[in-house]
Symmetry: C2
Subunit: 220 residues, 2 copies
């Protein structure tokens, strides 16, 4: 008699992630998984990106949080379709949570879906959602040592947005040390230095997203 | 026949936490579990506190990180006994990791043990270590909405150190909104507004720790 082996949580998650991805591809929606520490500026970046892209692409947002709908409320004020996922203590989004949220959005009317993950620099890196783009935010006041201390997150992303560069005059942050740490882990990552307060640098990130979207749709 | 039930991970963890606590009590060591987001300033706070208390108490430090020994190296430069725990991807310290690290310190020669948890505002709140004091750092640039979004961490702590108040002129942070969120979750928490750059406010926190230590030792 063969002993039944329960598939690992991560393998089960990957299966659902693949199904989510297939749905996004069918609908022509580019999904962007945005990860960062608490308070790095994920929602602010999404809002700034919406400003830049709302005339060029139809945007939707899924907000992941342990509790509250503060972030989703900020997005909804912009008239953008948004769904809040509350994990109820859970430290990351997983593919199944995302799948459960998708029917609340009309994917036929979207070009880009931003998925704001739970604020956490560790666990979200381990759970695929099915997104096309893995993006992370770093934040200047977090310090320049974070790539060395949280390698898992830095290793697995396609884009790294370094936010709050308006605070560079007021904190100790050695950009060279930071970039050296990133390069050792992920030499091909696209890096954008931005300030979501002043708007500086956001345009480059927004254009990069549009290029990615065009490439993905042409391929699809 | 009774079906054997494996005790939950959290119950097993609590058992070891209790044993750690018993050891600390026997040795007359007050253990302080310090939790925060990545980059909130946990190591900086420990260094500033060592400055204030090194003539009054014998201090040791355990550093928890996903990777690297950057923080432990900073502490070691001060000539303070320090042990680095690398979780190898794990998102929090647990009681068993702490237990494994303790033989590397001579507890007979310590009065206060700071345990710097992994940078994470969610998971560390769920794993008791056996520490006498649960302390957390918030950081001004993280934003004033964090108590509303990460209630689990704010609910369970004895002390809340609000760091980086030197950045208040440069970021949007409504202290009243922040404190209102904290009060709703944890009305009795001791709150200290500090800057580990200027040193402002650190003295109050250090004195509070010494009072706690005296109370605990008198009781023991």
């Amino acid at each position: 008699m063969k002993v039944p082996v329960v598939k690992s949580i991560l393998a089960a998650n990957d299966q659902i992630a693949q199904e989510n991805r297939q749905l996004f591809d069918e609908k022509g929606v580019m999904a962007v998984n945005i990860m960062a520490s608490p308070g790095a500026g994920k929602t602010s970046l999404i809002l700034r990106t919406i400003e830049r892209l709302r005339d060029k692409a139809r945007i939707g947002v899924i907000e992941g949080d342990v509790a509250s709908s503060i972030d989703a409320d900020r997005i909804a004020q912009e008239g953008v379709p948004v769904v809040q996922i509350n994990t109820g203590g859970g430290c990351h989004l997983d593919a199944n949570m995302l799948r459960a949220a998708l029917p609340s959005l009309n994917l036929d009317e979207l070009d880009i879906l931003f998925i704001e993950n739970v604020g956490n620099l560790i666990c979200p890196a381990n759970f695929r959602l099915g997104a096309h783009i893995q993006a992370m935010l770093a934040s200047i006041p977090e310090g320049d040592d974070k790539p060395y201390k949280y390698p898992g997150m830095y290793q697995g992303v396609d884009a790294l947005v370094v936010n709050k560069i308006d605070l560079l005059p007021y904190v100790r942050f050695d950009m060279e040390r930071f970039r050296k740490g990133v390069a050792a882990l992920n030499p091909d990552v696209a890096i954008f230095e931005v300030s979501c307060v002043t708007g500086k640098g956001v345009q480059d990130w927004a254009e990069w997203l549009m290029q990615k979207k065009d490439t993905l749709l042409r391929r699809g």
